[in-house]
Amino acid sequence: MIPTEQHIKLPDGSIERQTTTLNLGPTHPATHGVFENILELDGERIVSAKQTVGYIHRAFEKLAEHRPLYQITPLTDRLNYCSSPINNMGWHLTCEKLLNVKTPKRVDYLRVIIMELARISDHLICNSIVGVDTGAYTGFLYVMQYRELIYEIYEEVCGSRLTTNIGRIGGFERNFTNTAFEKLEKFLREYPVVLKEFENLFMRNRIFMERTQGTGGISAERALNYGFTGPNLRATGVDYDVRVHAPYSSYEDFDFIIPVGSTGDNYDRFMVRGEEMWQSLSIIEQAYKKIQEFTGAESEIYHADVPEYYLPPKVDVYTKMEALIWHFKIIMGEIEMPKGEVYLSVEGGNGELGFYFISDGGRTPYRLHFRRPCFIYYQAYPELTKGAMLSDAIVTMSSLNLIAGEMDA
């Protein structure tokens, strides 16, 4: 809504400016991550916003040109660090597409479980932070214990909690232990109750609804033109989800709905993310049931049989000749890499996370470009907040789920 009248009226002949310049600077409790906004305010309303990004630019694309494939996984962790397993899996899937590696079903289902847990964790963070920005701290701290449980599940599988470096080309580095499955069962038992309680705090809460409905809205055509993907695009009504359009890792075997909104405002984004968490929970339950149906030798598979790209277990490296040779070849870069270029995208927490990988046959990529959804849709922020009040701009910023690591790479 563009204001038609000036709110601050200065006396005639005044040399002061009509608008205030406010630096919503890189270190600010309301900006989640480091990015800066220089706002022109007319009273309480925003006239224009100028953004500065790049405070956490770490030159991943240049680094990736000097690292062999398995050393790039830790770089991808640090893109969207709230849901790093999805980035890792996306990178492994890109490599598998280039190298023509087929993963067994059990590996696919385990990957789906980990990716959906990461999606739940990311959406929990986003939705609870939208609550925090409207003043409701309880929700954020209450769901923290279930985010902790998700991080404990990652820890059982790969050893790390936040920047997971999980998985390898062809599967996982170790089989899921019984503890991991017990924690997963605990999560599936206890989390639905907590999610319902969390929703009860916000969904029909009058204050929250009045703060978030009607603010930060965008139409579907403008959103598509700005390159929106993910929950932000689905909130405007376009049901584009990479898991359905270009299924990867056996997502076609699962039955889930894509929630869409209608106006694309903050409330719709909150609701879309909330419903996606329920859908992710359903996908995890389906995947867990499918995994329990594997019997005998099939239930022990946790990686594809690709000795050229999958580091052998250390026990075998020290005792068997072939494993030693493969280990040497992989680490020293004596493996045949095909030439070619591949683009693969996965549905990250924020949208279509794409990997454009050009290989010239060498050990390291010739070019690796990350298509980062946060970077692309943050451009729309001035249009989303034109004419809005300052407090609405803060809520819009947090409901867009801007993660600085993904914006800058």
Binding site: V53, G54, H57, A59, E61, K62, L63, E65, H66, K97, L98, R222, L224, N225, Y226, G227, V238, Y240, H245, A246, G340, E341, V342, Y343, S345, E352, G354, Y356, I358, Y366, R367, H369, R371, F375, I376, Y378, Q379, A380, D408, A409
Partner: protein, 167 residues
């Protein structure tokens, strides 16, 4: 009737003749190139033509090929037709000595920052861009870091002990 790579190629060749070339299909995605003066015409055709309607710009980046004389910098557009779920890769090349390419911001708003990033890292000058300044690097930088001649580490640092940290 679904949109196949053959059909896309036919339509492009039908409209632009031999100015579009280098048709390749890698991992299911068709890619082609055109001279850099025609990039907007091709993008507009792909946008407007009702059978093609590539209305979503997925990605815009550049690649540096120092060995290809007079075509060192290549700008790559990834386009997506959401209705028929078809992706396309479109390339334009430009020499390093004269890296001017027309901007796609009037057609796709998402190209704005992606072109700024390409300028920041490769030095491709997008003609007609509303605000072509560096986006991720510091404003005072006077080189283009992703080009192949630029090494990974800054060679002018004097605070690192070379005996301890190899280069």
């Amino acid at each position: 009737m679904s949109l196949t790579n053959e059909k896309i190629k036919e339509k492009l060749v039908g409209k632009f003749g031999d100015q579009v070339g280098n048709f390749e299909e890698s991992f299911g995605m068709l890619s082609f190139s055109a001279p850099k003066d025609m990039n907007l015409k091709v993008l507009q055709f792909l946008y407007d033509e009702p059978d093609l309607s590539f209305r979503f710009l997925t990605d815009l980046c550049a690649v540096h090929y120092p060995d290809k004389h007079d075509a060192e910098l290549e700008v790559v557009y990834h386009l997506h037709n959401l209705k028929d779920n078809v992706r396309l890769r479109f390339r334009v090349s430009t020499p390093v000595s004269n890296p001017d390419v027309f901007t796609a911001t009037k057609l796709f708003e998402s190209a704005n920052w992606m072109e700024r990033e390409t300028y920041d890292f490769y030095g491709v000058n997008f003609l007609g861009h509303p605000n072509l300044v560096r986006i991720l690097n510091v404003d005072e930088m006077d080189y283009f870091p992703m080009r192949k001649e630029f090494p990974l580490e800054d060679q002018t640092r004097i605070d690192k002990d070379d005996d301890m940290f190899g280069r």
